[in-house]
Symmetry: C2
C-alpha cells in the first residue's frame, strides 16, 4: 500500500546515483530531470529507495541499511571524528548531496556549525547535513494523539512528507503504541527522525506531570537511542527562575515540553531535571551519536511575547548547554520561535548565532502575525523564508491547521511544499548555485512555453499540471490560461523583430 505513495510524480524524472571519491562504496541518489530541450537538471532528493523505480519496497521488512558497512570500527560521533580530521563516509555522502567538498562538511561539523544526525542504529537514513552553509532544510511533524491514528497511518504520513520533500521528520506521537509506531517509522524512513522523549516519558507515568522523574526520562532516552532516533528535542534550558516571567505573558508557555517541565518544577520546587542531569544526557547521546535539538520551551506564542526576557533568558542557557554538549562530542542544534513580527526576526538570528556559538538554528516559522488562523502555513512561511535567508539551517513546517487541528494528508502536502518554497527562496537569496540553476531552468522553460519542463521543475508538478490543463487543456500551447493567446506578454515579446 505504501509503494503507490512514491509512484513517480514527475515525468522524465529518474533516480541517478553518484559514487564517492574518498569512499567509493557510497552511492548517493539524486533526482535527475531530463528536460525536453535535452538539458538535464539534478535535484537534491529525499525519497531514498522509494524514489527508485527499480527498488521493490517491503514495509514489513523495512528499508535496507543505507550505511551499515561504513560504521564498522567507528565508536565515536561524527563530531569527534570531524574534530580529529576524519572525513567519514557520511560526510562525503552529505557533501555529494550538497555539491560541496567533503572537507568543507567535515570542517563545518568540527566547528559545531553543522550537524549530521545519524544514530548508529538508524542505518536506513541517508546521511544529510544541517547548517547555515548548506541548503536550508525542512522538518515535518507527524505523530498520533489521544484522538487516535494507527501505526500504518503514521508511517504513511512520514513517507508522504518525504515524498514532498521533508528533509527530516519528527514523530511527536503522544497516544497509544508510541514505541511500535516509532519502530515502524524508523525502519522505513530514509531521513533522520527526531522525537521529544518527554512525551513518551509522560505517557509512562499515565500523563501525570508530577510523577515524572529523571529515572523514567533516562530510561526513555536510552530506549529511543537504541531504536535509532537521530535527534532529540530536550527542553533543558527552561530554568525554574524563568517560569514567573513566562506566567506574566499574554500567552504564557506554548511549548508542550516547556509547559510540562514548568509544571513539574513548580510542583517539586526543584530545578529542571533535564538541566541538572544534562551531563548524563550527553553521555547517553554520545554513545549512539544522537544529536541534541535544544528546545525552546519559552518560545513566544504571540507577537506581544516575542523576544522577551523569558525567551532570551532561555536562549542564553541553550548557549551554555551547547558548549557542554560539545565537550562530550555531541552534535547540537538550537530550536527557535515561534511568533515573531518581521522587524524582530533578525535580532533572533543575531543573538542565537552569538550566544549559541554558531550552532545551527532550527526554527518553527516564525509566524509574523497572530491572526492567520486557517492560513498559518503562510504566516509562518513568510517568517521562515526571512530567517532562512538570515542563516537559519532548518525550518519546522507549520500547516494550514496550526492552532486549530491536526493536519490531514492534504494539509501535510500543502505544508511541506510551502516550506520547501520558503527554504528554496532562502537558498536563492543566499546565492546557492543549485537553487539558482533550478529557477533559471524554470524561467527558460517558461519563456519557451515548455510546459512539461515547467511542471517537472516545480515543487508540486501534479498541482501545476492540473491547473494548467483545466484551463488550457494543451501542453503545446504557446500561452497560458491566465492571459490567453492574444495577451501573452512573452508571446508578444518574441514577435518583436
Amino acid at each position: 500500500m505504501f509503494k503507490k505513495l512514491f509512484h513517480n510524480p514527475i515525468e522524465c524524472k529518474s533516480k541517478h546515483y553518484v559514487e564517492g571519491k574518498i569512499h567509493p562504496e557510497i552511492r548517493v541518489g539524486v533526482c535527475r530531470i531530463s528536460l525536453t530541450n535535452g538539458e538535464q537538471i539534478d535535484l537534491y532528493d529525499t525519497t531514498g529507495l522509494y524514489g527508485d523505480a527499480n527498488h521493490t519496497i517491503d514495509i514489513e521488512r523495512g528499508l535496507p541499511p543505507a550505511r551499515s558497512r561504513w560504521q564498522e570500527g567507528e565508536f565515536r560521533t561524527q563530531l569527534s571524528l570531524a574534530r580529529r580530521g576524519v572525513i567519514t563516509p557520511e560526510m562525503e555522502y552529505a557533501a555529494i548531496r550538497e555539491g560541496v567538498e567533503a572537507e568543507f562538511v567535515r570542517a563545518k561539523i568540527a566547528k559545531g556549525e553543522a550537524i549530521l544526525p545519524c544514530n548508529r542504529n538508524h542505518p536506513e537514513a541517508e546521511p544529510m547535513v544541517i547548517g547555515r552553509d548548506f541548503l536550508v532544510k525542512i522538518n515535518s511533524n507527524i505523530g498520533n494523539s489521544a484522538l487516535g491514528s494507527s501505526i500504518e497511518e503514521e508511517v504513511e504520513k512520514a513517507l508522504w512528507s518525504i515524498k514532498w520533500g521533508a528533509d527530516t521528520v519528527m514523530d511527536l506521537s503522544t497516544g497509544a503504541n508510541i514505541h511500535q509506531t516509532r519502530e515502524a517509522i524508523l525502519r522505513n524512513t530514509p531521513v533522520p527522525i527526531g522525537t521529544v522523549p518527554l512525551y513518551q516519558a509522560l505517557e509512562k507515568v499515565d500523563g501525570v506531570v508530577e510523577n515524572l522523574s529523571w529515572e523514567v526520562y533516562r530510561e526513555t532516552l536510552i530506549e529511543q537511542c537504541r531504536q535509532g532516533v537521530d535527534y532529540f528535542t530536550i527542553h533543558a534550558g527552561l530554568l525554574r527562575e524563568f517560569v514567573p516571567m513566562a506566567l506574566k505573558r499574554v500567552t504564557g508557555i506554548v511549548s508542550r515540553g516547556g509547559s510540562i517541565m514548568a509544571k513539574w518544577m513548580e510542583h517539586h520546587a526543584a530545578q529542571n531535571f533535564l538541566y541538572t542531569n544534562f551531563n548524563e544526557i550527553c553521555e547517553i547521546c554520545a554513545d549512539y551519536d544522537v544529536a541534541l535539538s535544544l528546545g525552546d520551551g519559552l518560545r513566544p506564542g504571540s507577537i506581544a511575547d516575542a523576544n522577551d526576557q523569558a525567551q532570551y533568558g532561555e536562549l542564553k542557557i541553550l548557549g551554555e548547554l551547547t558548549l557542554k554538549a560539545w565537550e562530550y562530542d555531541v552534535q547540537v542544534i538550537i530550536e527557535g520561535p515561534g511568533h515573531v513580527p518581521m522587524h524582530l526576526i533578525e535580532d533572533n538570528m543575531v543573538k542565537q548565532r552569538e550566544w549559541c556559538h554558531g550552532a545551527p538554528f532550527y526554527t518553527l516559522g516564525p509566524l509574523v502575525s497572530d491572526i492567520g488562523a486557517g492560513y498559518d502555513h503562510i504566516t509562518s512561511a513568510i517568517g521562515g523564508a526571512m530567517i532562512g535567508w538570515m542563516g537559519t539551517a532548518m525550518l519546522c513546517y507549520v500547516t494550514t491547521k496550526e492552532h486549530l487541528a491536526l493536519p490531514n494528508k492534504d494539509d501535510v502536502r500543502e505544508g511541506v511544499v510551502t516550506f520547501k518554497l520558503a527554504a528554496h527562496a532562502a537558498d536563492i537569496a543566499k546565492g546557492n548555485r543549485s537553487a539558482l540553476a533550478r529557477d533559471l531552468a524554470m524561467s527558460r522553460a517558461r519563456y519557451d512555453f515548455r510546459w512539461a519542463d515547467q511542471f517537472n521543475l516545480s515543487l508540486d508538478p501534479e498541482r501545476a499540471r492540473r491547473m494548467h490543463y483545466e484551463m488550457v487543456g494543451n501542453s503545446d500551447a504557446d500561452y497560458c490560461g491566465m492571459c490567453g493567446p492574444h495577451f501573452c506578454a512573452m508571446r508578444i515579446t518574441k514577435s518583436i523583430k
Copy 2:
C-alpha cells in the same frame, strides 16, 4: 443574487458608523466585533453598504453615492486641494478609517506621499488613502478574457474580492463587453477601481498592436474617465531605448502592457506614445481626478532579470513622469515588480523612494522564486510582506494559479486573504496600533480558549471555524484539536500555581 455574497460571515459583527468632526455629514462605516468577554474591536472595513444588514441591495440600480454631496463646487483634484491646505471630506473620511488626524492625510497627499483615488464620477466608492504611512492596502485583479465570462460573473468576482478585504479592484477585462462590464462594476463597488486603458484600446483595433494610435488611446482614456475609473495603469516609462535591453533577458517582457508598447514602438520605429503624450494624459486625468499608476512594463519576470538595467532604467523615467504629473495636480503611484529574490527587495524600495520622490509604491508580489507554480500566492506573499514592511503602500495580490490559469472564486478568496495577511504582517512590523490591537485581542482569546472570538478576529472566520469544528466539534473546549486535551501547553501553563 449578489446579496448572499455578503451574508454576515462573522458572528457578533456589525456595521458601526463614525461621524466626521470637520465634515459632520460624513458617516464612516467600520466593522465592529463584540467579543465574548465584553470588549469591542473596530476593524477597517471595505465592504461598504454590503456589510450593513440594514441596507437593501439593488444591483440593477447600483449603490447610492457615498460622497456626491461633498463634491459640489469642487473642480480640482485632491492633490491640488491638499496643496492649498484644504482638508476635503474625502480626506477626513480616509483619516477616520485609518485612525489618524485628517490634517495628517492632507499633508501626506500634498507631498505626493499618499493618494486618495476618487474619480468624481465614481461617487459609489468610499474614500481611502494609499501611502506608506497608512495601513498597507491590497488590490485584487478581475476581468474577463477571450476565453469568456459574463458581466454578472465579473461583478460577482469584484464583490467577492471586496468581501474578503480587497481595498481596490482592477478590472483587467480583455474580452467582450468591456465597457458594459466596467459600468456594472463601477456602479456597484464601494472601493476604487483601476484599469489598464491600453487593453480596451487594443480591442478597439481588433487586437492588432500595430494599429494602435494615440487617438484611439486618448478616446479610450476619456471614455473611462467619464465612467468613473479611479486609477489608470499607464506604461509611459517604457522608452524605446530600453527594448533591446529587455529582449536580452531570460524572460523578456512579462507585462502585457509593456509588451504591447514595445511591439508598437519597434513596428513604428517611434517613441512610446504614452510618453510623448504624457502631458495631455495628465490634463485629462486632472479633469476627473483620476490617479496615475505608472506601470512597470519592464518588471522582471524571473529571478535572473531582477533589478537589471531595463527595470531600473524604466523606474528612473517613472520618477521624471511623477514630477510632471504633479505639475498637473495629478496623483501618482508607482508600480513595482515582479520576480525579485529576497536579498534584492530592499534595493527596489530604496531606489523607488529616491527616484520617484516619495510617491507611493504599488508592487506585484514580489515573487521570491520562479519555481512556485501552483503556490505562487505564497511565493509572492513572502516578498509582499517584506516590501510592505519596507514601505510599499499597496500590494497587488497574486493567486495560486499565477503563471498557469485564471483564478476561480476559491482562488480569489485564497489570494485576497493571503495578501491581507501579508499586508497585516507588514502593518504589525511597522507598529500600526490597530493592527497590533487585533493581534493582541486574538492572542488573549487564544489563551482564554474563547474560540468564537478567535474565529471572528481572524481573516477568514469561516475557514478557521470549520477546521476547528471538524476536529473538536465543540466551541467550549479548553484545548484545540492539534495537541488534544492532555498536551495543551496553554492549559498546562494555566494549571501552574
